[in-house]
Amino acid sequence: MIRESIRNIVFYTIILVSQLLIFNHFNFFDIINPSVYLIIFILYKISYSNSSLIFLGFITGLIIDLAMQTYGCHTFATITICYLRERIEKNSFGVNANLPSAMIKGTRMINRFIFFMLIIFIHSSIYYSLVFFNNELIGKIFYYSLLNSIVTFIIVWVLSQLISNN
């Protein structure tokens, strides 16, 4: 139990630090900054409390907002996907949602793909909607959300496969 907790804290710290030091400064094509920290909420074990997940999302979002000077855009997007995660999980995996590692193994790839993509795309849409905060820029919001979602998905997917193999 203690070993699992330490492993989780180390994993959380590594992801958060790499997000702050590497991925936040990615700036690929001046558009793409992948939100790799979403892997924390994607791989979060369903046996833990959902309220704790929302608090964890709030703290993580707050740290990233403070570092990036985005004033709460990351926080709101993150707590929203944390709140919706249970429903997205049930819709993506159906009866297999109760499996302890449904997100990385024991389920069909298409289900995992839908689950990852839904969480990443919802997060990106909310984040860029708050960043631009202008309904006249809806096309731009969609474009940014889609590109960032695709890149974030690729990185998160690869990382989850590495974790699964280990």
Binding site: I54, Y71, F76, I79, T80
Partner: protein, 267 residues
């Protein structure tokens, strides 16, 4: 109490989510000028819309008071109008000088009988007496028939028993207005000789040769006439200016010299 606690516990995730969202939005609002301006604009729009809505609601509830104020104001204007007419144009008789106006609300009205009666909410205690003329801002309504302490009944112009002295405004030809009991919008103008010239659209006003109405109060306009009568008089249809089906407020004319004229006639 237990059910409230259970409900809170059941929805704790939603409560936590809403609370944290509010904290986040507060941070956005206070720290980011873009969000401050956008949220401020939305706030101004919403407060403007709600103010307009509450203003509509308030004005609706204040309609009765506003209506009463307008009636009082209209009454004062009518008095000034009559006084002005008397002083400058000398259109009306001496009796008009001593005439005063009182307003009253209609509480009962009918237009579908041959002898229609209107009841108003003022009686002897409100200064109303029998045989007073009743008008609106549009024209003649009728004559007070009977009075109790708090109420009075009016013989409507739409009553086959009523005959009102009238003239053609353009030619001053004298006639009388009666109702044939058929159409609540039309009355008949009688006793106009075929030698008089008239046309459709001419205005008919009170003639002033009665105890009830001074000269010049509008009644209606000519809509049709027949000059083929063998009796030597026109058969004229007059459309009344008043809409008797929607009357709500009337003015009662007081002519203080009625008794003097009656005494003179009796002698």
């Amino acid at each position: 109490m237990q059910s409230i606690i259970n409900s809170i516990l059941k929805n704790r995730n939603l409560i936590i989510y809403i609370t944290l969202s509010l904290i986040t939005f507060n941070s956005l609002y206070t720290n980011s000028s873009v969000h401050y301006n956008a949220i401020g604009k939305t706030g101004t729009y919403l407060s403007g819309k709600t103010s307009v809505f509450s203003s509509y609601i308030n004005s609706y509830f204040n309609l009765r008071d506003k209506n009463q104020i307008l009636i009082e104001e209209n009454l004062e204007l009518k008095k000034i109008q009559y006084k002005y007419n008397y002083e400058t144009q000398n259109l009306e008789s001496k009796s008009l000088e001593s005439k005063s106006l009182t307003n009253a609300n209609i509480i009962l009205n009918s237009i579908n009988k041959s002898k229609n009666i209107i009841v108003i909410d003022k009686g002897i205690s409100g200064g109303i007496n029998e045989e007073m003329g009743v008008i609106t801002s549009m024209g003649v309504v009728g004559i007070i028939k009977s009075v109790t302490k708090n109420y009075a009944s009016i013989i409507s112009l739409l009553n086959t028993d009523l005959k009102v002295n009238a003239i053609l405004k353009n030619s001053s030809t004298i006639g009388s207005i009666t109702w044939d009991g058929l159409n609540s919008k039309n009355v008949k103008l009688n006793d106009i000789p075929l030698s008089s010239s008239l046309k459709i659209g001419d205005t008919v006003v009170t003639g002033g040769m009665s105890f009830y109405f001074p000269k010049g109060i509008p009644i209606g306009s000519i809509t049709n006439y027949d000059n083929n009568s063998l009796e030597g008089y026109y058969d004229i249809d007059v459309e009344v200016f008043n809409d008797f089906s929607s009357l709500s407020n009337v003015y009662i004319l007081e002519r203080t010299d009625n008794e003097e004229i009656k005494t003179l006639l009796n002698d």
